[in-house]
């Protein structure tokens, strides 16, 4: 017996409902049941995850979903959430799971940072009339360039990856999301001359055509990693940690490991795909160096190697170690970053905000005079183009986004990716669900999103009197804090508004 009421209530306007049954056909959670006798529909509300699929597809707008207004006795200490979680664990005896990012009402530093604009003493620049450059080159840079007498470079640059926009699509593995979702992302990346990221699930053969736009990941499970795979991307990314769940690996249940997933991951069909918490060949920083150089050897030093770490308390020192170990690109993932599945306790409690982590990493690398050698990519709850601008001004070269592109593909943030029943065809391998996601349509929507953000970035740059994104990088004078403490301002390296 369960102790708690359903989380959501399904409201059906009987006047409007024509009993077409679309909702019942669409719902993989089996919420809507056709009552043949009465010729009506009813709802098993305890199954509802509020994914909004039925609401969006109901032809007569007869449906809406609301939070159950039922309330426990008011208690600011033992909140409803806290009580419910205890009840759930008492029933199951298991670890609580969540998906997507941290939903807690923690402060957003991006929202408490304001941007500058030019007035009188220098002109703002109109991006519709003047060039406005958002191109970025990722990869290791020498401290200085040396030329021969004829003007040619003495030494060739280490491998660089050119992006037309400072936004990449972050790691989402085949297994955690569907092949159609990955295809949509790959095509969008190609369209916008940026990169998508295969995640740690290997690479499906259908994506090999997009290998010039792929970041391929090497994580602790080493799924699908072989020489061919390593050479199928522009960047190789060693995933050490993920912002949503620093300190642990991933787990794709055997039910999701169908034929295709098994091939891409090179594991037997139906077996759990478990990524260990650490890389078992990296127990220390010098081990990381060996892995970085093994990967470079395997790819003939033609690809930048990136190291992705979760933003944890001593992230600045770790970041510095990674750069010295040979990372060409450093990815920092904040604690609000998304995931297909993570233990709730970790998701909500481990790690630090990306804004603070980024600011302290950038400053630390500058204090050590090595910031210019490496590219920094930050990720973990970038909500809009203003967040991108703020991240770059704090010190990033580019950002990764994932939740936003999922939303562009239909995700309504129901945060139940781990069930594998995604009605939008994203976080599922069920064929009847994945075919709902047409890459022709959703590649365009994702590309639209990237282009829209880039337009907005150009407008904001122009307002600041800047016409190339590199002049924004680390340009913290363009930022002011609002409602932040002295300590927060010091860590962010910005002044308060009005100063």
């Amino acid at each position: 017996m369960r102790y708690y009421a359903p989380e959501f209530m399904v409201y059906r306007d009987e006047e409007r409902c024509i009993a077409c049954g679309a909702c019942a056909r669409q719902c993989s959670n089996k919420v809507h049941i056709i009552d043949e006798e009465k010729g009506k529909l009813r709802a098993e509300e305890e199954n509802c995850v509020n994914c909004q699929r039925c609401v969006a597809l109901c032809p007569t707008n007869a449906l809406h979903i609301r939070h159950n207004p039922n309330e426990l006795r008011l208690n600011y200490n033992w909140t409803q959430k806290a009580v419910k979680e205890v009840e759930k664990q008492a029933l199951s005896g298991g670890v609580l799971l969540s998906a997507m990012g941290n939903p807690a009402n923690h402060p957003s530093y991006f929202d408490r940072i304001l941007l500058n604009a030019s007035q009188v003493t220098n002109p703002s620049i109109d991006p519709l009339r003047e060039p406005m450059e958002t191109r970025v080159y990722l990869g290791r840079k020498p401290s200085k360039l040396e030329f021969n007498a004829d003007g040619t470079l003495k030494e060739k640059l280490p491998p660089q990856v050119e992006l037309d926009i400072p936004i990449m699509i972050s790691a989402m593995s085949f297994g955690s999301i569907s092949l159609n979702a990955q295809k949509s992302l790959a095509r969008a990346a190609e369209e916008c001359n940026t990169l998508f990221n295969t995640g740690e699930g290997g690479m499906h053969r259908d994506l090999i055509g997009y290998k010039n736009r792929a970041v391929i990941q090497v994580a602790s499970g080493r799924f699908g990693v072989n020489k061919e795979y390593l050479n199928n991307g522009r960047i190789i990314e060693i995933k050490i940690g993920q912002g949503a769940k620093p300190g642990i690996g991933g787990h794709v249940p055997g039910e999701k490991v169908n034929e295709d997933v098994s091939q891409a991951r090179t594991i037997p069909k139906g077996t759990d795909a478990i990524s260990p918490a650490p890389h078992h060949d990296i127990y220390s920083i010098e081990d990381l160096r060996q892995l970085i150089y093994s990967l470079k050897e395997a790819t003939d030093y033609k690809k930048p190697v990136s190291v992705k770490i979760a933003a944890v308390h001593n992230v600045a020192a770790i970041a510095s170690g990674c750069v010295r170990a040979g990372a060409d690109i450093l990815v920092i993932d904040g604690y609000k970053g998304g995931t297909g599945a993570a233990p709730t306790r970790l998701l909500e409690n481990v790690g630090i905000p990306i804004e603070l982590a980024l600011a302290s990493v950038d400053q630390r690398l500058r204090d050590e005079s090595i910031r210019h050698q490496v590219s920094i990519v930050c990720t973990g709850s970038i909500h809009n183009s203003a967040d991108v601008v703020k991240a770059i001004a704090l010190g990033a070269d580019a950002v990764y986004i994932a939740s936003a592109v999922l939303i562009a593909m239909g995700c309504h943030m129901c945060r139940t990716c781990h069930t594998g029943l995604c009605n939008w065809g994203i976080a599922t391998q069920r064929e009847d669900l994945t075919r709902r996601l047409n890459p022709d349509i959703y590649a365009e929507r994702v590309a639209n999103l990237l282009k829209a953000w880039n337009h907005e970035i150009q407008e904001m740059l122009g307002g600041m009197g800047i016409n190339a994104i590199e002049s924004l990088k680390g340009n913290r004078l363009m930022l002011r804090g609002i409602g932040l403490s002295e300590t927060e301002l010091r860590i962010l390296g910005i002044k308060h508004a009005g100063e």
Partner: protein, 368 residues
């Protein structure tokens, strides 16, 4: 309390002017004063200054340190330091005209000095490659930091000097009696700061070693540039555009060995669209420069005249958001924010053209 440069960032508009004789013939400061005086309306009396090259032939092997002292104690402390780290050939007060419009002058001294032989050798134990220039740079940056309140080195090159003050530039020229000096290259600056208590050190040109910069503009890449050069040991104590641009040139040219042309290609880089359309070799060159030195790109409006030993470079931002005119007459090249400031001293010209955005005009004195 109103804060001075270094405590706050003060944007300002300006007038600039420059004259160089390509044959290296030296001439007095009279013309440059006339030229900058014509652009009186572009300044507001809160800062003016000049840089002159070739003025100290007798001491051309010595670094000429020009220093402002607020008080006797500041000078005593600074001199104690200088006497340890430098061998001073001669020193004295810089002659000024007390009857001019410039008031409230600090004590202004100059020292002709070379690095102390002993201290240099000592430093070379740790850094065998340490050059005289780098040695001087470090001590100048150190002395201009908060360690020496009341003392400020505003010029440190060889056979050149900066002269600046709070006031209109023409009055500053008269105050320093620039008509008595002879140089082959002169630059001038009149300042229109938006707020300042009027600190002499904050007037322009800004100089370091032989570099001097006069600049009109307000760059929007300031903090990106500042945080970049500070990785290489510079301290942007004044928080001004001119200071950070000087350090960028010093880093790129003196420390990294780029040519002036390449440095201009970094600071006012061509657009990516233009680079894409270049032939393969050039494309590779510019892509490398722009991607490696991305943080040295200077953005927003600027027009600068960079003076150095044996020449000058005029450079405009790549969108040409500030006026800067060049003209030639016989062996002389003129530069100014306005054409009228050139015509004032050379009514008949062989040629005249606006400096193009992102395209440097470089003049080197023949035989140098």
């Amino acid at each position: 309390m109103i804060q001075k440069e270094g405590q706050v960032r003060i944007p300002s508009g300006c007038a600039i002017s420059g004259i160089i004789n390509k044959k290296g013939k030296r001439f007095s400061g009279a013309d440059i004063i006339k030229s900058i005086a014509l652009m009186h309306e572009r300044s507001n009396g809160l800062g003016g200054g000049f840089a002159a090259y070739g003025i100290y032939p007798k001491y051309k092997e010595h670094f000429a340190l020009h220093i402002f002292f607020d008080c006797r104690e500041a000078r005593a402390k600074a001199e104690e330091y200088i006497n340890i780290y430098f061998d001073v050939e001669t020193a004295g007060i810089i002659p000024t005209d007390k009857t001019s419009n410039i008031k409230k002058s600090p004590c202004i001294w100059r020292y002709f000095a070379v690095p102390s032989h002993i201290k240099l050798e000592e430093a070379r134990m740790a850094e065998p490659e340490l050059t005289h220039e780098e040695y001087v740079t470090r001590h100048v940056i150190h002395m201009n930091s908060e360690a020496f309140p009341g003392a400020y080195i505003f010029s440190s090159g060889k056979n050149m000097g900066a002269f600046k003050a709070v006031g209109y530039p023409e009055d500053v020229g008269e105050f320093y009696r620039l008509e008595d000096y002879k140089g082959y290259l002169w630059t001038a600056h009149g300042r229109f700061p938006t707020n300042t208590p009027g600190w002499w050190g904050g007037a322009h040109p800004f100089t370091l070693l032989d570099w001097s910069i006069v600049h009109n503009g307000e760059i929007s890449s300031y903090d990106a540039n500042r945080r970049y050069v500070e990785m290489f040991g510079y301290d942007c104590a004044l928080q001004t555009d001119t200071e950070v641009i000087t350090y960028l040139f010093d880093l790129l040219v003196r420390k990294h060995g780029l040519t002036l042309e390449a440095a201009a290609d970094v600071i006012a880089a061509p657009m990516w669209k233009a680079i894409e359309n270049m032939p393969e070799e050039k494309r590779e060159y510019y892509t490398a420069l722009r991607s490696v030195y991305s943080s040295a790109l200077v953005n927003g409006p600027f027009s600068i005249i960079l003076g150095f030993d044996g020449g000058l470079m005029a450079l405009n931002d790549r969108l040409k958001l500030r006026s800067l005119i060049a003209a030639e007459k016989d062996d002389t090249l003129y530069l100014a924010s306005e054409e009228s400031a050139i015509r004032r001293i050379a009514p008949e010209l062989d040629s005249l053209w606006p400096v193009e955005g992102g395209k440097p005009v470089i003049v080197r004195v023949e035989g140098e």
